[in-house]
């Protein structure tokens, strides 16, 4: 993104070809790696919190290299909001599901007892669905909300309040998941 006022040495600021290209090459690998970590969150330490962070960071990397506005066009706001609400929904649904089976909120043993499958799968659902999606969404929304804050009149207050409420809602989400 070169804006009219960003002249240096009477020359237009243009994106560096080198940075653009290396980000282009790295991005698919980091995205794959982030998703890999999220999906294996239950059996490796660190797990989906980091996986979600890497997915978010991949988008940030593209945003830094290409400029915020093209990235914002590429990653629709609704997509990011959907990421977070989807994550929270999966999270709560898993919790309620275990309650429906007669356990406590997020008591995975209930799933294991009822269906005879490993304890692992409840954890998997939380890790993948809950934590990774929420963290990735939160990283992106926080970044885009902060970026939008530099020019206050670019976005309406309405979208800003959505950002803050969804990200504050997600802040408590991972905590619960990590305790188990």
């Amino acid at each position: 993104m070169s804006q009219p006022d960003s002249y240096t040495n009477s020359d237009t600021y243009s994106e560096s070809q080198v940075i653009l290209t290396s980000v282009r090459i790295i991005a698919p690998f980091t995205l794959t790696y982030g998703m890999f970590l999220s999906l294996h969150g239950a059996d490796t330490p660190g797990g989906s919190f980091q996986g979600g962070a890497i997915i978010g960071v991949t988008v940030l990397m593209l945003a830094f290299a290409f400029g915020i506005d093209p990235t914002r066009k590429w990653v629709k706001n609704s997509f990011v909001a959907g990421l977070i609400t989807g994550g929270v929904t999966i999270f709560i649904a898993t919790g309620l599901f275990t309650m429906a089976l007669g356990g406590n909120f997020l008591e995975y043993d209930a799933i294991a007892d009822t269906f005879g499958i490993a304890h692992y799968w409840g954890m998997e659902a939380i890790e993948v669905g809950g934590v990774a999606l929420i963290v990735a969404g939160a990283v992106m929304t926080l970044f885009f909300a902060t970026a939008a804050g530099f020019t206050p009149d670019r976005h309406s207050n309405e979208s800003d309040s959505t950002y803050s409420s969804s990200s504050s809602g997600s802040a408590s989400g991972p905590e619960v998941g990590r305790d188990d």
């Binding site: 993104m1 070169s2 240096t8 600021y13 980000v23 490796t44 660190g46 980091q50 940030l60 990397m61």
Partner: protein
């Protein structure tokens, strides 16, 4: 026998890398420009990645490599982000 010795060697090397990383603090504090500091922090970050990898080998905790990889990614992101942000105070972002 050699395995234990090798682990010790890795730990000693990691300690020496820590000393080299601490040397970077001089440049990070002294500056004089933002880019100098950024450079020092970037080198420090690379050293941290190496230290994590060496610890992974020395302590037999291979999952440290996971963290090293994430750290390397964040280090790269930081270098790009700040170096773009210093130009026109983010106007070109």
């Amino acid at each position: 026998m050699t395995a234990d010795l090798l682990n010790d060697i890795f730990l000693v090397t990691a300690a020496l890398f820590v000393v080299l990383a601490i040397m970077m603090f001089y440049r990070a504090v002294a500056g004089p420009t933002t880019q100098d500091r950024l450079l020092a922090v970037n080198v420090l970050g690379t050293n941290t990645v190496v230290i994590l990898a060496l610890l992974a080998a020395g302590l037999d905790e291979p999952w440290f490599l996971d963290i090293a990889l994430i750290y390397a990614l964040l280090n790269f992101l930081m270098a790009i982000a700040i170096s773009k942000f210093t130009v026109e105070r983010g106007g070109v972002l």
